[in-house]
């Protein structure tokens, strides 16, 4: 009953030009370096991926250009009438104070894949349930609606076609790496992925086929299909794939690269993993881009909460804080100060 009232109020807000206003601002701001907007999307698919991970697909109209490494800021509750930006003093009988809105802040999620057809865009999100916000997302079902702002952040710089890309994902660091792999293989770049987790149940991937060879698995993961990404899986306890860390799989590949071969590494995952991957690449003189994570207040560059210390020769003492939500989340491994 209440839900219905809210959705009616939403319709009204819509009617009163809330969405129209944001759309017209997009057009006006088309020349800005970063074009993003407020969206209301619909869940069109949902599946459980592992004991902790779920995947949802959001459908939205009029989504601006976006690229792998970018993220969206999801609102983790059904928007209340008062959040729909409407006036209307008739709503005075609504006591807005008794409306709880935790979580209050939006939460950042990487775009895990993106497909367009006509004006409609489908966005895949892979999430790991760790708190109230992600639990709310996990409970969403087909037909539910989700508010988000996006696309945000600076994407991965794509390598030239003749490069060999090595993609490294730890745990729920998979989503941006997955979309990057799809994009690169579409471009014709040779891609190899290393996906690691502590143990088999924590791999945020659907395992399609029993492995035959315990060192490497080709095309056993449904995730990249139909993209020809060669995947190596590692688990810390050896419960699936190669026993060890992603760096144990990465090191021999970097050692095996031949003179004159252009190799670039792209990674996303927990910070200790990113540090290890970055250091390994630096030692091998291989360029490496890392998608970093920070607790984000706004995702739009206003609150200054999401800082990453980076080297900067222009700064008097050689370093400064960069905003993960604007300059990042993708950083060159050589500029990050650990």
């Amino acid at each position: 009953m209440l839900e219905q009232t809210r959705s009616q109020q939403y319709q009204k807000a819509h009617h009163r030009g809330f969405l129209r206003a944001s759309v017209s601002t997009i057009t006006a701001m088309a020349s800005l370096e970063q074009t993003s907007a407020l969206f209301r999307s619909t869940v069109i698919r949902r599946r459980s991926v592992s004991v902790e991970h779920f995947e949802i697909t959001l459908a939205v109209n009029g989504f601006p250009a976006a690229a792998p490494g970018q993220f969206i800021q999801l609102l983790h509750h059904e928007p209340h009438a008062f959040e729909m930006n409407q006036g209307d003093a008739n709503l005075i009988q609504f006591n807005t104070d008794t409306i709880s809105e935790n979580p209050l802040l939006r939460r950042p999620f990487s775009i895990g894949a993106l497909r367009r057809s006509g004006d409609q865009t489908e966005i895949d999100i892979i999430g790991r349930v760790i708190g109230i916000g992600t639990a709310w997302l996990d409970a969403l079902r087909v037909g539910n609606s989700v508010d988000f702002i996006g696309p945000l952040g600076t994407p991965f710089r794509l390598p030239p076609k003749n490069a060999r890309a090595i993609l490294v994902a730890g745990g729920v660091g998979l989503p941006p790496i997955r979309w990057l792999g799809m994009t690169l293989t579409d471009m014709g770049v040779d891609c190899r992925a290393i996906i690691g987790a502590q143990r088999r149940e924590l791999l945020p991937v659907i395992i399609k086929q029993k492995p035959t060879n315990f060192a490497e698995f080709q095309h056993i993961l449904g995730d990249f299909e139909p993209h020809p990404v060669h995947v190596i899986v590692t688990t810390d306890d050896g419960s699936f794939g190669m026993k060890g860390r992603v760096t144990d799989a990465l090191a021999p590949i970097l050692c095996g690269t031949t003179e004159g071969e252009l190799v670039q590494v792209f990674a996303c995952g927990p910070e200790p993993m990113l540090k290890a991957v970055g250091e390994l690449c630096e030692a091998s003189n291989v360029s490496c881009q890392l998608a970093m994570e920070r607790v984000m207040g706004c995702g739009m560059g206003t609150c200054q909460s999401c800082v990453v210390p980076v080297k900067d020769d222009a700064a008097s003492d050689g370093w400064r804080y960069a905003l993960c939500c604007r300059e990042g989340p993708v950083f060159d491994s050589r500029v990050v100060i650990w």
Partner: protein, 310 residues
């Protein structure tokens, strides 16, 4: 159509809705989501004499009904602000207030002196929730020190209005309000964040690298309303000094409540992080409220709360 314009000292705002310092950057960040020109006023992040990197992360954490922040006044410093940020602010449309912070009275005076050379600024807002490096006291919690600071800054703020942003971390907010007015404040902004802390029970460490931070958001709204109401009734109404109210405002209902308590204008802060377009609905809601009540001007609701007494 009711008249939405309000007066803050010499400056006329076309409507009473503003954005709060530190929650909307330097004005361009929200441009894709919010037509900044619809705002009555806009306040920048705190600017200091020298550039400041700010605190190490983690700088924020969500808390019940709000959030805790310890950004540490990260900003580019006044020289770079004048060069790269101010020209942009001046083209936004609404009245622009530059929020100023410092570690000594001299810092504040110097920053305000430089700002006074700029054209098209509506005024400066003093963030006095910073410790004075000399004696460790926070300007905003010591009435004597606060009056001294405001009086020192007053002569150099010649072109714009002088706003003083009160700290709620005091026993008697009326005494700091009086001190700010005695020092020469044209208007009061209230309130800044409440001191707070969060401990991670798994690691047994404070969540914020700075240990403590400031609480903002809906959680602090009742305290903000109470403080605005008290200061309005006991200090500013008689003194004819307007209040810019802030602290947990997220919708037009909150804005109307703040104005009834005594605020002349209302600033939206934390709510912008989730809803950068919120000010649009707040302006429209205030307008609808006035129409429904048959009121011709928003000024009619300022301080209009009925005080029930025996």
């Amino acid at each position: 159509m009711p008249d939405l314009s309000v007066q803050i000292g010499r400056v006329r705002l076309k409507n009473p809705v503003m954005t709060a310092s530190g929650t909307c950057g330097f004005g361009r960040e929200y441009a894709p989501y919010l037509d900044m020109s619809m705002l009555g006023g806009f306040t920048t992040k705190s600017v200091t004499l020298r550039p400041r990197k700010g605190n190490p992360p983690q700088r924020i954490v969500e808390t019940p009904g709000g959030m805790l922040n310890a950004i540490g006044l990260a900003n580019v410093g006044i020289d770079e602000f004048m060069k790269s940020k101010l020209p942009d602010c001046q083209t936004l449309g609404p009245a622009v207030f530059v929020n100023v912070a410092g570690e000594s009275i001299e810092d504040y005076v110097e920053v305000c002196r430089i700002l006074d050379t700029a054209d098209g600024l509506a005024g400066v807002e003093l963030n006095v929730s910073c410790p004075n490096v000399k004696d460790g006291l926070t300007f905003g919690t010591d009435a004597v020190l606060l009056k001294e600071l405001v009086a020192a800054v007053r002569p150099v703020v010649k072109r714009g209005v002088l706003l003083v942003k009160l700290s709620p971390n005091v026993t008697d907010i009326c005494s700091t309000a009086r001190a700010a007015i005695a020092g020469g404040a044209d208007a009061l902004s209230m309130i800044n964040t409440f001191l707070g802390m969060k401990i991670d029970i798994r690691t047994q460490r404070p969540v914020l690298a700075n240990m403590t931070g400031g609480v903002s958001g809906p959680a602090i709204k009742p305290m903000a309303v109470q403080m605005i109401h008290r200061v309005y009734r006991d200090v500013t109404r008689a003194a004819g000094v307007p209040i810019i109210g802030m602290g947990g405002v997220r919708c037009w209902q909150d804005a109307v409540e703040f104005m009834l308590a005594g605020a002349t204008a209302v600033a939206v802060g934390t709510a912008l992080f989730a809803h950068p377009d919120a000010p649009m609905g707040i302006v429209r809601g205030i307008e609808d409220y006035l129409i429904q009540r048959g009121l011709g001007s928003v000024n009619e609701i300022i301080g209009a709360v009925h005080e029930v007494r025996d």
